[in-house]
């Protein structure tokens, strides 16, 4: 069965304290690994797509990387406005996505 897990469940950082979020996946025929940011009460906002092991994507303080079993979202020198829930999802056969439960990030000033 296809599955995506994320760790940690919640993460509290001080402003400027870099860290990484983990996404582990077992998705048959993975066709893409997606990262989203979700603010409370809103829909997920697309961040990155990674298609093959070794690929990296960057956007401001965020960098996403992909291996054959995991993806990492690295956050460098975070700011309070980076506080959100970060979701990863695997796209497998067919058109569906398998979402992880998310990591709730809090960045304290």
């Amino acid at each position: 069965e296809d599955q995506v897990t994320q760790s940690p469940e919640a993460l509290r950082l001080q402003e400027g304290e870099s860290s990484s979020l983990n996404c582990s996946y077992t998705v048959s025929g993975l066709r893409g690994l997606f990262w989203y940011r979700q603010d409370p009460g809103k829909g997920p906002e697309f961040l990155f797509t990674l298609y093959s092991a070794g690929e990296e994507k960057e956007k401001e303080r965020l960098k996403a990387t992909l291996t054959k079993k995991e993806s990492f979202l690295h956050i460098t020198a975070p700011k309070p406005e980076d506080s959100a829930t970060y979701l990863c999802a695997g796209g497998g056969y067919g058109q569906n996505f398998v979402f992880g439960p998310g990591t709730r990030l809090s960045v304290l000033p």
């Binding site: 893409g32 058109q95 439960p101």
Partner: protein
């Protein structure tokens, strides 16, 4: 910018009512999805559609139906709302070949 628009941000309905949630996308995407999101359960797929008038059941289709009469519009129908359908409902769309999905702003539905 891709836009996926859901008709309501908040809805309050009574048990037994028929409820319509509407979603419109402006990117000519083939695929559209309806998810519900509950604390501790994450995003769960209710239905998706890969073409006009085509639909596939997701993981939790019971108590729901969908309609896609036009490519840009995907409706979720709760035939007889129940309190356990109180949730955040999210619509999404994407193009072919597992490209990224774009989400609407969500509809917070409360059934009383």
């Amino acid at each position: 910018d891709v836009k996926v628009t859901q008709s309501s941000r908040y809805l309050v309905k009574r048990t037994g009512e028929k409820v319509f949630l509407e979603c419109v996308q402006d990117m000519d995407h083939e695929n559209m999805f309806w998810y519900r999101q509950d604390p501790g359960l994450g995003l769960r797929l209710i239905y998706f559609s890969y073409d006009v008038k085509m639909k596939e059941k997701g993981d939790i289709p019971e108590g729901y139906s969908v309609s896609r009469e036009k490519k840009e519009r995907f409706s979720l129908i709760l035939e007889s709302a129940s309190t356990n359908q109180t949730s955040m409902y999210l619509c999404a769309s994407n193009g072919p070949f597992n490209t990224e999905a774009f989400f609407g702003q969500g509809t917070r539905l409360t059934v009383v």
